[in-house]
Amino acid sequence: MSLRPESTEFAMPLLLLFVTGTAPRSQRARVNLFRTLEQVGRADIQPHEIDLLEEPKEGIKHSVFATPALMKVGQSGDVSVLYGDLSEAEPLHRFLSDLNDE
């Protein structure tokens, strides 16, 4: 059995945040993502949260096993992933920079 994400399924929402319950890094990621979206003026985007403790199969489906991880699905179906608790502002800003173009 081999599984890779079907990236085209997620034209919307644009952002998927993979977390594991209330783990400290997952908590920090939620806060950091929310704050940064506000900063870049895209507070309208509601990231879809996937808790792998609740939905482990989603991890297999999207091939995401490290949490927290932020997955961005572009309009054309291209997928990119940012690992970590999103505490490093610069890579997070860079990752979200093209949201305003969507």
């Binding site: 599984l3 690992y83 608790d85």
Partner: protein, 573 residues
């Protein structure tokens, strides 16, 4: 106070199904814990992991393989190189997850692997019946911004395994001369067990080994163990559990196939013992070994004949020319002839191939011709170890073994000693040439024969179309005479013997003649004696008659007239 049951607390192990690994670890890898498997690229980490899973599947257990480096298709291709691929990949108890981080993945802070543990946990129905592999987890953990965070994740996996009873293999790539991946320095001491695989080039061939760097709470072999990888996967050829030897030392003698040689060996070699025949090229080592094999097959014993660098057909044909028939037992299946190429592979792999042949054919007799070929194989510094293991193996299995060993032209006893075989073999005979008076004759001498009275004298070895035979010994001073000199000496001996025989015959005839003469004389004397006795008896009778007449004549009452008395006196009756 909490009481601790040592039996319950003691480290529990789970068999990997790899006989050598289970043997050196004393029963397998830690059950309900994580084991770290480190090694350079192509050292065999993935194969070892897959093989352990295949063995688990075969036992009816489940297997979960999470790949962080190779694609699932590549993992399946890896498995397909081995004999157990089918049963692994087709099993519904086999799960393969693609956990490769995306090639364009970015990082913004530390992450953890709770998600991974959760995903895998959801697939594990019964941890005690499941083996899990995280293959190349360093490929994911390298994205951790700090080494501390990466190492912490490995610790987290270890704790999780212990809590959930997972038996897990965690593989990681060694970093140059260091055992652990660069960003996971120190993890080799973190888990309760760590195996290090290595693959180094040695004489243009890959030399594999496995070392148990750590095994907390368990005795284990600490050496670097030679490892091979063939169609059946990975094995530690020298470390499979040895069969407890229930073979008692046999007193039965087994023929070498050459009656006169058997006689020299006090009846042959002991069943289950080993005989080394060493000698220079052309001294008839193979022919002698083949005689043994032929005799074994004639007794109805399964015989494995391993020839290095010689093909079966010409080998068997050449032996037929000296009266040894191996074709018939090969056809009947009693003799299995295996031709191996010494150069083609490493000595360790040769040993493993031999071991598998012994496992499958279960011979009662074995011939390896020549065992010295192992010295030609690459990584032959291990040849001594191989021969020792081989001898130990055949001895434990009670296989009567004949090994030949090729020696150098200048050093007839040298190479046999280099290979250590001569010290291990129970019996050792050296074949050589004896050059005298322009002749080169083959000779045989028994150097040692444990537990047997044996002749220490050099014999001449005769090779004819009827096979090998030994010539009777002729001594000349302190030397043993061979070839034409032996024939001349034999003729001289025969002449002398004939002369001695004639002389004895003449002497007997002379005595008989003299006895006949004596008998004739005895008979003549006897007749004479008889005649003499007759004459003596007649005289006595006449004397008696005369005396009676005298008495009567002188008697007055006698009726004889006196005139007659006088007249009759002195007359005979």
């Amino acid at each position: 106070m909490l009481k601790v049951d040592p039996e319950q607390t003691k480290l529990q192990k789970r068999k990997t199904g790899i006989a050598g690994l289970d043997s050196v670890t004393g029963g397998g890898l830690p059950a309900g814990q994580a084991t770290l498997l480190l090694g350079q690229a192509a050292a065999g980490k993935t194969v070892l992991s897959l093989q352990i899973l295949a063995n688990a599947i075969e036992r009816g257990e489940a297997a979960v393989f999470v790949t962080f480096e190779e694609s699932p298709a590549q993992v399946e291709r890896d498995a397909c190189s081995f004999s157990w691929a089918g049963q692994l990949l087709s099993s519904d108890r086999w799960q393969l997850f693609d956990a490769r981080p995306r090639s364009d993945a970015q990082v913004a802070g530390e992450f953890d692997i709770e998600g991974l543990l959760s995903v895998v946990g959801a697939t594990v129905e019964d941890a005690s019946e499941t083996w899990i592999v995280f293959d190349g987890i360093d490929q994911l953990l390298q994205y951790q911004p700090s080494q501390r965070a990466a190492v912490e994740q490995v610790r987290r996996i270890s704790d999780h395994c212990e809590a959930q009873g997972w038996t897990l293999l965690l593989t990681g790539k060694a970093n140059g001369s260091r055992m652990a991946p660069a960003h996971l320095d120190g993890i080799e001491f973190l888990l309760s067990a760590t195996l290090i695989l290595s693959a180094e080039m040695c004489n243009h061939q890959l030399k594999r080994s496995l070392r148990i760097a750590k095994f907390r709470g368990s005795g284990h072999v600490t050496d670097e163990l030679p490892m091979i990888m063939d169609d059946d996967g990975i094995e530690l050829p020298f470390h499979e559990a040895l069969v407890d030897s229930d073979t008692t030392a046999s007193t039965e003698r087994v023929s070498t196939g050459i009656p006169k040689l058997d006689k020299l060996l006090d009846g042959g070699i002991y069943r289950g013992s080993s005989l080394l025949i060493s000698g220079r090229p052309g001294t008839a080592k193979s022919t002698l070994a083949a005689h043994f094999a032929e005799a074994a097959c004639q007794r109805g014993e399964r015989t494995l004949y391993v020839s290095f660098d010689e093909l079966a057909d010409p080998y068997v044909r050449n032996l037929a020319s000296v009266g040894v028939d191996l074709r018939s037992p090969i056809t009947s299946g009693l003799l299995r002839f295996v031709s191996l190429s010494a150069h083609s592979t490493q000595v360790t792999e040769h040993f493993f191939a031999l071991r598998r042949l012994l496992d499958r054919f279960e011979p009662q007799c074995l011939v390896i011709d020549p065992v010295s070929a192992l010295l030609k194989a690459t990584a032959s510094e291990e040849a001594c170890m191989v021969t020792e293991h081989l001898m130990d193996l055949v001895r434990r299995r009670g296989i009567t073994t004949v090994l030949t060993s090729l020696t150098g032209l200048q050093d007839p006893e040298g190479e046999a000693t280099r290979g250590q075989v001569s010290t291990i073999a129970d019996s050792w005979m050296v074949l050589d040439y004896n050059v005298r008076a322009g002749e080169r004759n083959r000779s045989l001498s028994i150097i040692k024969s444990r537990g047997s009275a044996h002749s220490n004298q050099q014999r001449e070895l005769l090779l004819s179309d009827a096979g090998v035979d030994l010539a009777d010994v002729y001594e000349l001073g302190t030397d043993v005479v061979m070839g034409t000199a032996r024939v001349a000496l034999a003729n001289e001996e025969a002449l002398k013997e004939r002369r001695r025989k004639l002389e004895r015959q003449q002497h007997r005839l002379e005595l008989e003649r003299r006895m006949e003469l004596a008998e004739q004389e005895r008979r003549r004397l006897e007749a004479e004696l008889k005649l003499e006795a007759q004459e003596s008896a007649d005289a006595e009778l006449m004397a008696q008659v005369y005396r009676r007449e005298i008495i009567e004549r002188r008697d007055p009452d006698s009726e004889i007239h006196p005139a007659q008395r006088g007249a009759g006196e002195g007359e005979l009756p």
